[in-house]
Amino acid sequence: MLLKSTRNEFIKIAAKPRSYLGLVAITVLVGVILFALKADGMSFISFVTSSFEQTLSFEGNILNGNLVAFIVLQMLVIHIPLLVALVTGDLVSGEGAMGTIRMLATKPISRTKLLLSKFIAGGVYTLFIVIWLGIMAVVVGKTIFGSGDLMVLNSDGLVILQDADINWRYIGGFSVAFLALLTVSSLSICLSCFSENSIGPIVTTMSIIILFTIIGTLDVTIFDNIKPFLFTTHMAAWRSFFEDPLPVDQIRQSVVILLVHNVALILISLYKFNKKDITS
């Protein structure tokens, strides 16, 4: 029953034009970034390497597919949550607004299973978005710019990773990015359970992300204790896969915190949805 309901939910997602907005947006955005980097990528690179280039010279193909994919990911991973929330924030409240949730609740499926199917469908949609982003960034990037060593700038300095050592890092990075976006999906579905209209949960999700991101970037000691527990802090955890040596503990901590957020949001949603007096 859960699987059938999940399938129905996914058909509903697929039937909505806004579901394709994310895929189109990623295609256009990545296309624009790839075009810009192809046209004038070296000036972007020199902005990163300028402080090193007074005494050192970088030889080899620096502007390659791996670097381009990394730049694309860095630019887009922050904006993708909006594309996810646009679809998942509508999954419960949208049905409430249309009046179909009441009819759905009369079907021989428990409310828990019904809501879980929405979470699963939302997760599958998020996975599609991440895979599409991966194809556009890594596959298309490598096709246009070729492969090569990856130069990553982090707060410790410059890390240069060899070409053969990169693909598994992308797989790990995308997996953590998926988990972060799944948290956004869970948050928006959770908020959707509290709302009767479509737009409210989407806007609230983005507001929460913006608020938490600002708290995370402010260098104020009062926030130091809560920063490690904000899911937005761990949305950039995919970058950890591009450090050398790999900060396994940091990655594990980020994965645990994101998983705890997901579980907590699902439990809150289930509690609310089961208690909800559906009158629409």
């Binding site: 030889e59 300095g157 240069i160 260098d219």
Partner: protein, 228 residues
């Protein structure tokens, strides 16, 4: 007064003598360098630079007289901006410098003459080049190049089978590195305290070792190879 003039004359003559010695040394060195019209060599570049993590990388280095130079690397390689062909470039124009023997030093059992090379032009990027030259084999054992743009680069040369051409088997560059500034916004790491990182002490010099093998000398490298 006579004594002062005598001393001044002796000093001038001895300086001229030092300059002649230096010019002779450099002429012999240049002649040896010029015997290599071009070469290609495989290089293993190992960089140990503060704030930079990079594994050793393979490259092919091409050189053609007078000043054509190219490093062809499959992966990313970090090399010093100065010091590769600067000596050859500088010595190729006799009028562009003044040289003087400053003394000698024993390096790994070999007596080397220390020659200082000063650029003739005030506006030149080069401030001073010091060369430790083995006068018997006409090879540079060590060089210290100071430029306005890149600071000081010290290079130690180790010779093997290609000694007859004056081509080293190993070069060790020590370069001045300023504290690199990481552009804000590009390097945003989670769980990192930027204030703590800023106070971290970093080394002021970096070392780049280049092991050179499989020399192909005077093979007639085409100019197209040097087109980037």
């Amino acid at each position: 007064m006579k004594h002062i003039i005598k001393i001044a004359l002796i000093c001038l003559l001895s300086l001229q003598g030092f300059a002649q010695d230096a010019n002779q040394l450099l002429a012999e060195l240049t002649a040896k360098m010029n015997s290599v019209k071009d070469y290609a060599v495989d290089a293993l570049i190992t960089s140990d630079i503060p704030m930079v993590k990079i594994l050793p990388s393979q490259a092919t280095i091409y050189f053609k007289q007078k000043d054509k130079f190219k490093i062809d690397s499959k992966g990313i390689a970090i090399v010093p901006k100065q010091g590769f062909n600067d000596i050859a470039k500088l010595l190729s124009q006799k009028d562009s410098y003044t040289a003087m023997v400053m003394g000698n030093e024993v390096m790994n059992g070999t007596k080397a003459d220390i020659v200082s090379v000063f650029p003739a032009s005030d506006t030149s990027d080069l401030v001073l080049a010091k060369l430790w030259i083995d006068p018997v084999n006409d090879i540079v054992l060590k060089s210290q190049i100071t430029t306005r743009s890149s600071g000081m680069v010290t290079i130690l040369y180790t010779y093997g089978a290609q000694k007859k051409w004056g081509l080293p088997d190993k070069m060790v560059f020590t370069v001045d590195v300023k504290k690199f500034k990481i552009p804000k916004g590009i390097a945003t790491d989670i769980n990192k305290n930027s204030a703590a990182d800023a106070n971290k002490p970093t080394a002021k010099t970096g070392e780049i070792k280049i092991d050179l093998t499989n020399y192909r000398v005077n093979i007639g490298i085409k100019d197209e190879v040097f087109v980037k």
